[in-house]
């Protein structure tokens, strides 16, 4: 059991191959008339290329805030985030971002949405078309190229939203509870598809969720966060082999161990909350 977990403080401070290095990051929000609200305190995290990381924690624990800081949507209050050796200042255009709601541009077709991120990159027309059609196929959206987002189902918009972030092949993709509002079946299908795409492309993914099963099923490592103020409680390794079968994830070796470990942490958290 001991080798499953890594205390954040025992993580080597500056591993050379880390894509993202989160160093002593705090984030406080100003609320008018009241004292500052601490969303994140002393976050230390290093993420390596090609890893699938999930961040799990109760709502309001600052998981999404952490993603927004890595994307550079807002600045850290203190500490810093180093991305591929450079400190993040302002928007981090090297990450792809999949928001909670699909947020497809409603005035663009599926095809135009998926290709949106390619326009500002150096792609020839032919490359662009090939890339878009490849990812549309990957997402199972072939035949829906000319549809507008208003005409898609929830699952389809989700898929389009995910490949929109994947298509221009950013080294890191941030996902903010992308499967949150979906029904259980669609959710599993999409988890399965996401893993398949990821196994092909091996981009680094940081995936925020509040669902423990999802967190374990997808990840190499699960970052466990605690309730306000947001702190990293633990980083749990998931020793399951890949490729994984999402639909029978409970039966795979290593699932119970990792899940049980997470649940222990949260049970502890809950009892603290109750008293």
């Amino acid at each position: 059991m001991a080798n499953l977990t890594r205390n954040p403080s025992t993580v080597a401070p500056f591993p050379s191959d880390a894509v993202i290095q989160v160093e002593k990051v705090c984030k406080a929000f100003q609320s008018p008339g009241r004292e500052n609200l601490d969303a994140l305190i002393d976050i230390e995290l290093s993420i390596h290329a090609g890893e699938f990381i999930t961040v799990v924690g109760p709502s309001g624990c600052g998981k999404s805030t952490l993603l927004r800081l890595i994307a550079g949507f807002s600045p850290c209050s203190s500490g810093r985030i180093v991305f591929q050796g450079e400190e993040v200042r302002g928007l981090n255009t090297k990450v792809g971002y999949v928001p909670q709601e699909s947020k497809l541009f409603p005035w663009l077709t599926v095809e135009e949405n998926v290709g949106f991120g390619l326009d500002s990159k150096q792609y020839s027309r032919a490359d662009r078309e090939r890339q878009v059609s490849q990812f549309i196929h990957l997402a199972g959206l072939a035949g829906f190229e000319k549809y507008y987002p208003a005409q898609l189902s929830g699952g389809m918009s989700k898929r389009a939203s995910i490949v929109r972030a994947l298509v221009y092949e950013p080294p890191v993709i941030l996902m903010d509870e992308p499967f949150g509002p979906l029904d259980a079946q669609t959710r599993m299908v999409l988890q399965d598809e996401l893993l398949k795409i990821w196994e092909k492309k091996r981009q680094t993914i940081i995936f925020v969720t509040h669902d423990l099963v999802e967190a374990v099923a997808l990840a190499d490592q699960v970052v466990v966060m605690t309730h306000r103020p947001g702190k990293i409680r633990d980083v749990v390794q998931v020793p399951m082999s890949r490729p994984r079968n999402i639909f029978e994830i409970h039966r795979q070796d290593g699932f119970d161990e990792a899940y049980g470990h997470l649940w222990n942490i949260f049970r502890h958290e809950l009892s603290i909350g109750a008293h």
Binding site: A71, G72, F73, L91, N92, T93, V95, G96, Y97, P99, K103, F105, P106, W107, L108, F116, G117, D119, S120, K121, Y148, P149, A150, Q151, Y168
Partner: protein, 258 residues
Amino acid sequence: MGAMGVNLARVAIIGGFLLLWEIASGRWIEPFLVSSPSRIFFSLISGYRDGDLLQHTWVTFQEIAIGFPIGAISGIALGYAFGRSRLLAEIFEPIIIGLNGIPRTALAPLFIVWLGIGLWSKVGVVFLLTFFLNFFNTYTGMRQMDQEYVDLANLMGVKGWKLTLKVILPAISPYVFTGIRTSIPFAVIGAIVGEFVAATEGVGFFIRMSAGIFKTADVFVGIIVLMIMVIIMDRIAELIERRALRWQSQTEHIQIQA
């Protein structure tokens, strides 16, 4: 009731009203007060036949054709600029709201003083009435716009004029079109008010002159010409709107009072 029935009911109501009007005129009400549909119709024909009415229509059309696009475009541009720049909005917002408190048609006489009794004073009033409606609608659109679209586009490396064209303008377009379409009747009001105050030609002038000599039929002719103008302009705007907003499953109109 099917679509056919609805249309039939419509025709019946309008036809019935016109018939009642025709019968009442000269029997129960003095014709010089209300004229009658047949008199109005013949006045319309003869008005256009001797070219007089055509000239008046052309003058009013010019006033609107110049004042309306300038007012709409500058209103949209300023609304956009205020939405993009917090500083600009902070400085000018209270001033604009203050100016909006002025009943704008009351400024028409001033425009006559400044720009003379010709075309340009009316263009000024049309501009004024069009500008504010477009400004307020566009500015509201900018404030209601989901900032996450802009963030996402920025993150994907899209910025500058590309961001404006591909993200911001489409995002606010429902508001922009609401501004344009609500301002169409006001543009016509602007032209007519200008012509009422002082003019030598135009439909407004024609209406006022006809009323002054109790040619009631001609007054109604003027009103009908204006009504047709507004309907045609609105139809054109609606067509463009439908094409531009075909991505919306249903065009929802957001009504903003200004």
